[in-house]
């Protein structure tokens, strides 16, 4: 287990009466790509700005590399930040921007030029030294901001919504590049984002924040497949959530009776109190769609659940063709709506079902997640 480079201990930040960050404790490990994910106003940016030193915690402690940061101003912290607006100095050339921190630190001209050149090469901006920021695109300006921070060789690089100003295509390209870059330089990255795709694709670990608290801290796949609560299940990815009662809970199986969905069977225990009110979360891509009657037979053949479990029937009320998948909105017999996605494995798959078709659905016993909160 690598050492934590940043330790956040019981940090609370209040603005007036509102707690923007509420008693958060977490460790960020050296060399990892850490993402703070959450909706706007959840406190993720405030937390990042407290690490950078632009905000001071009301209570609690932040340690960077074992050193307490209380009373240490931003310019003396071993971290650098890439701002949401990039904050590239408009009156300086690219080389002067990237060399700014080195010049302040008193690095000599020759070494400075060399390091600026290296940093620009790293972000594929070699040859742009003499450009002015207003002659560059948003993506290029962001690379300048990145190079300007990386050239300082910080222990931790903080990124505030680094890709939010880029268009979708460039964003997904930069997601990959950022992850590769992080791998290459080996610096700990802490990124703030509200975009779950961005978080899932780049992060080693993600802390999902809600109302100033950490709702769950996990790897991307754990977050998606094993959400700890309804907020995380709903915020990360798309999900169907049904309320129900826990009717069976043993070491290797469990069952929930959901008035909206029907009987749900799981092939593992959930360690919840018997008869408790729980929620079942089921991802749209984990539901199989069939013509009526066929589902029952397939479900029975799988033999992973008792009869009449993990089955549902409904009518297609909405359909969105998205190219790689088709998304169906289905009205269940109970009247509740459920979302099902279906991969278009062949070029005519989207024609199999259409509006007002009666369909049946089934899912595997390891697909639903039972949430206690």
């Amino acid at each position: 287990m690598p050492e934590p480079i940043i330790q956040i201990r019981n940090v609370t930040k209040r603005f007036g009466k509102v707690a923007a960050v509420d008693d958060v404790s977490l460790d960020i490990l050296a060399g990892e790509f850490f993402v703070l994910l959450g909706p706007s106003g959840c406190g993720k940016t405030t937390l990042l700005r407290m690490i950078a030193g632009f905000e001071l915690p009301t209570t609690g402690q932040i340690l960077i590399d074992g050193q307490d940061m209380a009373g240490i101003p931003p310019n003396r912290r071993p971290v650098n930040m890439v701002f949401q607006s990039y904050a590239v100095f408009p009156h300086m050339s690219v080389a002067d921007n990237v060399g700014y921190g080195l010049k302040i630190a008193g690095v000599g001209r020759a070494e400075r030029d060399e390091r600026v050149r290296e940093a620009l090469q790293l972000v594929s901006l070699a040859g742009f030294e003499d450009r002015k920021p207003d002659q560059m695109s948003g993506g290029q300006r962001q690379r300048v901001a990145l190079a300007r921070s990386l050239v300082m060789r910080p222990k931790v690089l903080l990124l505030d919504e680094p890709l939010s100003a880029l268009d979708a295509k460039l964003r997904s390209q930069m997601q990959l590049e950022l992850a590769e870059l992080q791998d290459e330089v080996g610096i700990t990255f802490v990124t703030v984002t509200h975009d779950q795709d961005e978080a899932l694709s780049m992060a080693c670990r993600i802390a999902v924040m809600n109302k100033g608290e950490v709702a769950q801290l996990a790897t991307p796949s754990d977050l998606y497949e094993f959400p700890a609560n309804r907020f995380v299940a709903d915020f990360v990815g798309s999900v169907n959530i049904f309320e129900g009662k826990l009717t069976l809970d043993e070491a290797d199986r469990a069952a929930v009776d959901c008035p909206g969905l029907g009987k749900v069977y799981l092939n593992h225990g959930v360690t919840g109190p018997h008869g408790a009110d729980v929620w079942v979360a089921l991802r749209p891509e984990k539901i199989y769609l069939h013509v009526p009657g066929e589902g029952k037979a397939i479900r029975a053949a799988a033999q992973d659940a008792p009869e009449d479990h993990n089955l549902a029937r409904g009518v297609i009320k909405g359909m969105s063709y998205l190219g790689d998948i088709t998304l169906y909105e289905i009205k269940l017999e109970s009247g509740a709506m459920i979302r099902v996605s279906r991969p278009n494995l062949s070029r005519r798959d989207q024609e199999d079902f259409t509006w007002d078709d009666k369909v049946s659905m089934h899912w595997r016993a390891d697909s639903p997640v039972v949430l206690l909160g």
Partner: protein, 303 residues
């Protein structure tokens, strides 16, 4: 409607701009033209001026006697502008970084003096700076206090307090002009600083620069257009200042505007006064031209 291009919309443009343009022509361009013509004329009677096209007035106006007053005015105006900049910049910074709640009140405070007539303000300042004014009384109280302290430790008391001559000298003129022109400096500075992206300042701090270096390398260069604007709209009226040196200055602190006034009134030499006026206008013209040349160049660089 694309009113930006008035050539495409001549009629609506004329309807909107006609009245003010007429006003400007009637009450600014025409009188200025008349004065300009006078500067090439000569007195032929107590109230008659013949426009003869002579350059004698300009020749006299560029004599050292008048040029020295002109240069002195320029020096005073430059000093006033510099003091306004040094005092005004921190004030503008303070307003920019004040909380949302405070900012309108602070701006109001800057503009409050405009609610009072310049003459009233000048007299108010004179009562403060007079021989028996508040400034002198305050200084006197301090002096007497120090004297009393000396007797307390057994030393000889200080001599009796004699009021300091604060008024009717060059010092008074500079103080008065700074007092009057400070808002003109603060407002453009504030508008430039307010436009500054805060994250640029944070980025500078983040990259290791202290507050002082952030100020000199990031804030001041980016506020340069505001500084230039503030300097211009302080320097030009200060150069033409008339009331303040007249009321607060001594015999040696007259500025060029006071000399011009004397030509039109007591000396009754309108042609010479006109020539002096236009000398001042030409100088200001050059200043403005230099400034717009400079901003034009930076605009081109930016593009």
């Amino acid at each position: 409607m694309a009113l930006q291009d008035w050539r495409l919309h001549k009629r609506p443009f004329a309807a909107i701009a006609g009245a003010p343009i007429l006003w400007l022509v009637l009450f600014f361009v025409v009188p200025m033209g008349i004065v300009w013509l006078y500067s090439f004329g000569q007195n032929v009677g107590p109230a008659d001026i013949a426009i003869t096209g002579t350059l004698d007035n300009y020749k006299r106006a560029t004599e050292w006697l008048y040029l020295s007053i002109f240069f002195k005015s320029l020096a005073v105006a430059a000093l006033v502008t510099l003091i306004c900049l040094v005092v005004g910049f921190p004030v503008a910074m303070a307003i920019t970084f004040a909380s949302e709640k405070w900012r309108p009140w602070l701006l109001l405070g800057i503009m409050l003096p405009f609610w009072t007539n310049l003459l009233v303000r000048t007299y108010a300042l004179m009562t403060v700076m007079g021989g028996n004014g508040y400034a002198n009384r305050g200084l006197g109280a301090l002096w007497n206090g120090a004297s009393w302290l000396k007797t307390l430790v057994g030393l000889q008391p200080l001599e009796a307090w004699t009021p300091v001559q604060l008024l009717y000298n060059n010092f008074a003129v500079v103080v008065g002009l700074v007092y009057v022109h400070l808002p003109f400096m603060v407002l453009p500075l504030y508008s430039a600083l307010d436009r500054l992206d805060r994250s640029l300042i944070e980025a500078s701090l983040d990259l290791g620069a202290g507050h002082l270096r952030t100020l000199t390398r990031i804030v001041m260069p980016l506020a340069a257009p505001g500084i230039a604007a503030g300097v211009m709209i302080t320097l030009i009226p200060a150069l033409g200042a008339y009331l303040t040196p007249d009321l607060m200055g001594g015999t040696d602190s007259q500025m060029i505007a006071n000399v011009i006034e004397r030509q039109f009134k007591r000396a009754n030499d309108w042609p010479f006064g006109a020539a002096l006026s236009f000398l001042l206008i030409y100088a200001m013209f050059i200043l403005v031209a230099l400034q717009s040349l400079r901003s034009g160049r930076t605009a081109k660089e930016a593009r």
